[in-house]
């Protein structure tokens, strides 16, 4: 069983929802990433989404754009990111890691080399925001044959028949983008998310994580009532940016935020 599936099953057994923090690998320094991943787990993270920096993050707001720029300022490559996951796995064999980013760096490495290295490094799933299922047919089969989960997005604008196709193509979980916008947007409407989740559940049987616009424990707890996991990105990345000169302080602040979300989710 994949680590992702195992994680959701364990949580379900405990009556809990998944807390899925996102950080951009190599932000602000390459050495900061693995200690931050461990800190996230210690503070209550169930799955980690690790961003692969890209020069043109079209679907991201300013917070993650700047994180990509900081990571790319010292050339954090996909090779480096895979190395970070391998390092993390030395002491953590349980927490699933999903690589999140854009297709081009993966294409440049080559699907075969990427899939092989990703599995060897201990990566569990891949989410490429600019790779919809229609364009992913070859890649998806390839990744799935290596036991890499393919995680796809569902948006408020996704029509029912497409949800069917996405549910069929995806594995691990689907990522519901809670609003029309880029990452780090503010106004998440919990009622709207609830209505859409009802629609999604009719087509999708694997777990549904909700992201975009979740920045505090209160929203996380409210959203978690209708989904299986909450994804928190920009709120964490903002704290990393605010402590760009002090990795230990960044870990302290991020841990406090993640911990407060864990508490809110479990309450």
């Amino acid at each position: 069983m994949s680590r992702i599936k195992q994680a959701f099953e364990t949580l379900e057994g405990q009556g809990k929802k998944a807390l899925i923090p996102y950080i951009t690998a190599g932000d602000p320094q390459k050495e900061a990433t693995v200690p931050m991943m461990h800190a996230l787990v210690d503070a209550g993270a169930d799955i980690i989404e690790l961003g692969v920096p890209f020069s043109d993050p079209m679907a991201d707001g300013p917070t993650i754009q700047l994180a990509c720029e900081r990571a790319l300022a010292h050339n954090t490559s996909l090779h480096d990111v895979l190395g970070m996951v391998a390092e993390f796995r030395k002491t953590n064999d349980k927490t699933p890691v999903v690589l999140m980013g854009y297709l081009n760096p993966v294409e440049r490495m080559g699907y075969e080399e990427f899939a092989t290295s990703a599995v060897a490094s201990g990566v569990d799933g891949v989410l490429m925001v600019d790779l919809p299922p229609e364009e992913a047919i070859d890649v998806a089969d390839f990744f799935k044959s290596r036991d890499l989960d393919m995680i796809y997005l569902i948006a408020p604008t996704t029509k029912d028949e497409r949800m069917e196709a996405i549910a069929h193509a995806g594995s691990g979980y689907v990522y519901y983008v809670s609003l029309k916008g880029v990452t780090g947007s503010k106004a998440l409407d919990v009622d709207d998310v609830a209505r859409n989740l009802e629609r999604i559940r009719r087509h999708v049987s694997i777990p549904v994580g909700v992201g975009f616009g979740i920045s505090n424990g209160e929203t996380a707890a409210a959203v978690s009532k209708v989904c299986d996991g909450v994804i928190v990105g920009s709120a964490i990345v903002n704290l990393i940016a605010a402590n760009a000169e002090d990795a230990a302080a960044a870990r302290t602040d991020v841990s406090a935020l993640v911990n407060s979300m864990r508490t809110a989710l479990d309450a």
């Binding site: 020069s55 079209m58 294409e107 600019d130 364009e135 948006a155 604008t157 029509k159 029309k180």
Partner: protein
Amino acid sequence: MSTNNPFDIDLPDARGHFGIHGGRFVSETLTAALEELTETYEKLRNDADFQAAFDKDLAHYVGRPSPLYLAERLTEACGGAQIWLKREDLNHTGAHKVNNTIGQALLAKFMGKKKVIAETGAGQHGVASATVAARFGLECKVFMGSTDVERQKLNVYRMKLLGAEVESVESGTKTLKDAMNEAMRHWVTNVDDTFYIIGTAAGPHPYPMLVRDFQSVIGREVQRQSEEQIGRQPDALVACVGGGSNAIGLFHPYIKYPDVAMYGVEAGGLGLDGDQHAAPLSKGIPGVLHGNRTYLMEDENGQIMGTHSISAGLDYPGVGPEHSWLKDVERATYVAATDDEALDAFHKLTQLEGIMPALESSHAVAYAMKLAATMDKDQAIVVNLSGRGDKDIHTIAALDGVTA
């Protein structure tokens, strides 16, 4: 035309692919909007009312057909094939861009969208978008990299006069690619009431097809005018290629006639040896950016590289997917002209013909001059003079050490 002509083929396919290129690589939120646009366009492309409205504005608003002009003194100076200029610079707003913005603004109107957005590099597409927004009573916001805002002040002011809001983009390299990122981000947030007018023949399906179709009026006119004025079809076509909209407009109607050679001229910048250029077809490899697979300038890790060209309109690391296909099937040849060659061509055309070309178009003129010299006097080249040079006077004056 024989049925075994490999170039007599209707592309893109239903999912927007030109060979391995093109497609629709976007985040999920935009998929529904792109599907809606594709469906609307499929209905309207054969709709008599829509086509009549488009043709009417091309004739009476843009001023088409644009002339095909024999540049006699330039021809003489090069000492070879006749050089004919397709005068897109004489269009309303001074470039070919307006052909496409009229078409897309009409689509926006038919779809009931009241707001339009656009990205721009040199500002020509921004001006053309702001112009048609005024013409059709649409609210318009133009995204432009702050580097380009600085080097194209005149066009920025033009857009503002036309009632558009110009959003200066500070992210990334602060040029066209970043303007396109920002326009996509705005669109994803305002997708219900906003139409995105993409200016170049790149981006997610159906944009490369839309822009190609709207710009193909250029090539169709050249086919007709060549029969009338040259007495036959030309031997070669030459056009500059940034994203490639003017070039595909000229080339597309000719693709299935392989006797007509096609040359796309990329921005060679400081030379193709280093990385100070914007020539993905000459030096790049296929990758995925801005919603399509196409030749890109990227580093060994798949990060998109900054580009350099004297001309803001060519300063783009990607290219329209149909050009990538034309390169792969060897139907078109892609070459480059450097900043210096383009500048030289600018001065030559200005002095010999009294026509001041845009710096983008000067790249095409530069290569055509070289090509003409290798051809016979009874041969003919048609160069797409895609825009006029007024917007570049300050750049050229600064390079020449003149305070204009």
